[in-house]
């Protein structure tokens, strides 16, 4: 049996013998005696043998060599913003990372407090009244917002969504709508922004539960949403704004646009790219919608000694109580990622977030102008953008250009159609890096 000793398994042979004796069975296999023999594995699994840490490091070093991180000029829902060095130190404290959902508030104040901080910060960013304790990512947060609209409207099934939302958000919306029974209708795009005439027309039917608009949109364009909230509310529809979190620091807020719900991905608040996850979806709403909100919510209360304390609250909304009446099945939040965001915003503050946006926007506009100047790109929309923009490639083969850039170590935006590409710049890109990238494009082919 000694070959079954492993660094994660503390049982000695003697322990096992004594424990089996207490239970009254002869062997570990006898613990499974009730299971019909035909259900048990009759052969060993076709898997490699257990590895030591030394071997595991080698495996990962090899895998790491097969990856090539690129100097990033892409966004499209995932942004290469700066992560302050102390954040991974804080989040790796195992008192945080190895805990679970804070069911026992007396020994979970750490988790409860950073979630409360996170909720506070997200409401301040969006201007709305309440935030939940986070969702999986921006796409699923937007899908939950769609289902909230349907639940709040009771008898209306139709939700409108702009074609200018990110494609991955639209795809997840489509999937959830198909199975949940939401009549999802997309409002077409015109010149890079939502076609307002069609939106008005569709709203006019009086059967819309909610309207989902991007901000900024998939091309990085900051859409002018004036009047949409009034139009929605006049038709008893909710307005949802979906977008990345970092720009909320400088752009007109969802509350200022009159939105009822704000959602999107908060990865842009200090969370590493990590090949697409883990990220964190945010979801904020006006207080009248709190009982329709999915996910956990942390609230303030007192303990019997009068300390100000924090607990999971409003649980009557949740899946484990509502069961088949639930309008969301969300159990947990992206706890660790709330801590990322809370620590990030604590360090950056208002001024820092402003500077991040300013540097990103300044770099993006510098790149935009330089790329257009090469004569290889044109701006098809010429609209207001922050740190992300769409250009049309005048050459024949966009793929070849992107491949060429990747070989040279640059991520040349995200291709969105045959000849269009969306670029993004963050505060991590220096002027020199941008110049080098532009040179590369200029000299291609």
């Amino acid at each position: 049996m000694s070959n079954n000793v492993h660094r994660y398994l503390p049982h000695t042979e003697e322990d096992i013998r004594k424990m089996l004796e207490v239970i009254g069975v002869k062997s570990l296999d006898d613990l499974y005696s009730e299971i019909p023999a035909e259900l048990k594995l009759s052969h060993p699994l076709n898997l490699p043998k257990a590895k030591s840490e030394i071997e595991i490091r080698k495996v990962f070093n090899q895998l790491a060599k097969e990856n090539k991180p690129l100097i990033c000029f892409a966004g499209f829902g995932a942004y290469d913003h700066f992560t302050p060095s102390i954040i991974p130190y804080i989040t790796s404290r195992s008192e945080f990372s190895t805990s679970y959902t804070p069911y026992q508030a007396e020994i979970s104040q750490g988790t409860l407090m950073y979630v409360f901080e996170y909720q506070t910060m997200m409401t301040r960013l969006t201007g709305l009244d309440v935030s939940n304790a986070s969702m999986y990512d921006g796409s699923t947060a937007t899908a939950e917002a769609m289902m909230m609209c349907q639940a709040a409207a009771k008898k209306r099934n139709r939700v409108l969504a702009s074609e200018t939302l990110l494609p991955q958000v639209k795809e997840v919306l489509r999937t959830y709508a198909k199975f949940h029974g939401v009549d999802l209708v997309f409002v077409p795009e015109e010149n890079g922004v939502t076609n307002r005439n069609v939106l008005t027309e569709l709203l006019g039917n009086g059967d819309v539960a909610g309207v989902i608009m991007p901000q900024p949109n998939c091309y990085g364009i900051v859409e002018d949403l004036s009047g949409i909230a009034d139009e929605c509310h006049a038709q008893k529809s909710l307005l949802v704004l979906s977008g990345p979190a970092s720009p909320l620091g400088v752009l007109k807020t969802p509350a200022e646009w009159g939105a009822d719900i704000a959602c999107g991905d908060a990865q842009s608040l200090g969370i590493p790219l990590s090949f697409g996850g883990p990220y964190i979806g945010y979801l904020c709403a006006t207080s009248s919608l709190i009982r329709k909100m999915p996910g956990r919510i942390v609230g303030q209360t007192e303990d019997v000694e009068g300390h100000r304390t924090f607990v999971l609250t409003m649980q009557a909304r949740e899946q484990h109580i509502r069961r088949e009446k639930a309008t969301s099945n969300i159990c947990t939040a992206q706890g660790m990622m709330c801590l990322y965001v809370a620590a990030y915003l604590s360090l950056m503050g208002t001024e820092g977030l402003n500077k991040v946006n300013e540097l990103s926007a300044a770099g993006a506009h510098y790149l935009h102008d330089a790329l257009v100047e090469t004569g290889r790109f044109a701006d098809p929309f010429q609209k207001t953008f922050l740190n992300e923009f769409c250009l049309e490639y005048k050459g024949a083969d966009l793929d070849a250009l992107q491949k060429h850039c990747a070989e040279a170590g640059y991520l040349c935006g995200v291709k969105v159609s045959e000849n269009r590409v969306v670029f993004a710049v963050t505060e991590q890109r220096s002027k020199e890096e941008i110049d080098e990238f532009v040179e590369l494009v200029k000299n291609f082919g």
């Binding site: 070959n3 994660y8 398994l9 299971i35 259900l39 060993p44 699994l45 898997l47 043998k49 595991i56 990856n67 090539k68 690129l70 499209f76 995932a78 302050p84 991974p88 804080i90 790796s92 404290r93 195992s94 008192e95 805990s99 679970y100 026992q104 007396e106 979970s108 407090m113 999986y136 990512d137 997840v172 999937t175 949940h180 007109k252 590493p272 990590s274 090949f275 697409g276 609230g299 303030q300 209360t301 007192e302 100000r308 304390t309 949740e318 899946q319 088949e324 639930a326 309008t327 159990c331 706890g335 660790m336 809370a342 360090l347 503050g349 208002t350 500077k355 540097l359 506009h365 207001t384």
Partner: protein, 492 residues
């Protein structure tokens, strides 16, 4: 864990004019006003903390000292599989060659990442006895929803639109019916027998051509193996439905018995339970979904595949149910699970399952003298007590009897996390204990000692238990006040 309550919020550590960051100078010579017209700019003042780096570091360190994790102590939270989270997992997941990858990078530049993803897909398929897996779902509940979407897609692909009912046992996690409801299915509940397993006779009349499938865990939420699973699977398949396996309780089955061999068609696995990734205060988790042969085409987009030339690629299929995530799931969590799979290997894997079962039965056998064990016999990785025995203060007819909540709170005083309480709903005073295989006999013995003590206190010194916890950073909280006052954000 520090017994003194720290209690401050970051907003209360803030001082106007302090700064916790430095950024490069703006050498572009332009500012925000040059790009964004005032009408599109934020008007409301944004108030965020202003703190230097050390203040932030100390604040969160102090807060962490009021938190309890698996590294702090024994965490027998039933149904959550709170096993040890190995540190090598963290080390490899933090490698910049993974963390710096943008999800839109060309496949040629992320071969290592895709290779790893594919290895995990294949390894899980082998362990579970399934044909293929997707790792895109973000959590157990998300996996359930995705799995149910697979089932509905399968029926829709055959033009069988009327199958909109799903059978769920009354002992199921609340998430099962909730996921089914979100997926647009109607829930039909099947009763349990007094022995705690599915009542096959009660199941039979529920089966008809409107049934899309049935959701089960095995072992079930009482920790009991459903020995009639072959018959149940046969009945459901005969009526045209599919079998869904909720992988919440997969741990004791590792290397012993596979869901695929039990007759399940679709399933999810919780990487944060069975495969040792940290629970993170509630997430991020990961809920991969597996399917048997013939259902692969319904798995969500995007899919990671190994090409014929040995390279890896990402593709989207028109037959897929759609997509359920922005990119390829919680990739950083998948890396951790891979490190664990390599650490455990095929040879040690069965010991993981067996020792989890050994631990649970050991604790149960000793403590059943003190706590009400509603269903006797071998359990798997966990078991459920229905509160204290009547002679130890648990007599329901006594108005001031000691409840499961009291016991749970008293456990905190002794330096352990409490088990899951008031679930499953089959019992009024449910106390659900899952020790996991990474706990030593010494730890279990101390826990057993503590639970015995509490039973004796409940009999002899009831107030001690009723007022617990007494030694934690904060005491019992007013849950009603939290709902009534409804304070969800900080206001100075």
């Amino acid at each position: 864990m520090n017994k003194v309550f720290y209690g401050k919020l970051i907003f209360e550590c803030s001082s106007t004019g302090r700064r916790g960051y430095d950024l490069p100078e703006n050498t572009f010579g332009k500012s925000l006003n040059d790009f964004i017209p005032a009408t599109l700019q934020r008007q409301a003042t944004l108030v965020l903390p202003e703190a230097d780096e050390q203040t932030v570091a100390r604040h969160y360190t102090n807060m962490s000292n009021n938190n309890f994790g698996v590294d702090t102590g024994f965490y027998p939270l039933g149904s959550c599989t709170m096993k040890y989270n190995p540190k090598i997992n963290e080390e490899v997941a933090a490698h910049p060659a993974f963390t710096a990858l943008h999800p839109a990078q060309p496949a040629e530049t992320v071969q290592g990442a895709l290779h790893l993803y594919d290895e995990v897909q294949r390894t899980l398929a082998e362990i579970a006895g399934m044909s293929a897996f997707t790792l895109n779902p973000y959590a157990g509940a998300h996996g359930e929803l995705t799995g149910l979407m697979v089932i509905r897609s399968y029926h829709m692909s055959r033009g069988d639109e009327k199958r909109t009912k799903i059978i769920v046992p009354d002992s199921a996690h609340g998430t099962n019916p909730a996921s089914a409801a979100v997926c647009g299915l109607q829930i039909v509940e099947v009763k349990s027998t007094p022995e705690g397993t599915i009542d096959v006779e009660a199941l039979k009349p529920l089966l008809n051509d409107e049934v899309a499938g049935m959701m089960m865990t095995n072992p079930n939420t009482l920790g009991i193996f459903e020995t009639k699973i072959p018959e149940i699977a046969r009945l459901v398949h005969e009526c045209g439905g599919l079998m869904y396996y909720d992988g919440a309780n997969l741990n004791p089955m590792l290397g012993v018995c596979r869901p695929g061999d039990m007759g399940f068609d679709v399933m999810h696995i919780n990487l944060h339970k069975t495969f040792s990734t940290p629970h993170g205060g509630g997430g991020p988790g990961s809920g991969p979904v597996g399917v048997r042969k013939g259902l692969e085409q319904f798995l969500p987009n995007p899919r990671v595949r190994k090409n014929d030339d040995g390279t890896y690629g990402v593709s989207s299929e028109p037959t897929a149910l759609g997509s359920v995530s922005s990119f390829l799931g919680n990739y950083g969590i998948i890396i951790r699970a891979y490190a664990y799979l390599l650490s455990i290997g095929g040879d040690i894997l069965p010991m993981v399952g067996k020792l989890s079962v050994l631990n649970a039965n050991y604790v149960k056998e000793i403590l059943k003298e003190y706590y009400q064990l509603p269903i006797d016999g071998l359990c798997k990785h966990e078991f459920v007590f229905d509160g204290l025995r009547p002679e130890f203060g648990g007599d329901h007819h006594d108005e001031s009897h000691v409840t499961t909540l009291d016991v749970a709170k008293r456990i905190l005083d002794y330096g352990f996390h409490a088990p899951t309480i008031y679930f499953p709903l089959l019992f009024h005073e449910a106390l659900m204990i899952e020790p996991t295989e990474t706990e030593s006999k010494d730890t279990l013995d101390s826990f057993i000692e503590v639970l015995k003590n509490i039973a004796i206190e409940a009999r002899d010194e009831r107030d001690k238990v009723k007022n617990a916890p007494l030694t934690t950073p904060v005491r019992r909280n007013d849950d009603v006040k939290a709902v009534k006052d409804a304070i969800f954000v900080y206001n100075a």
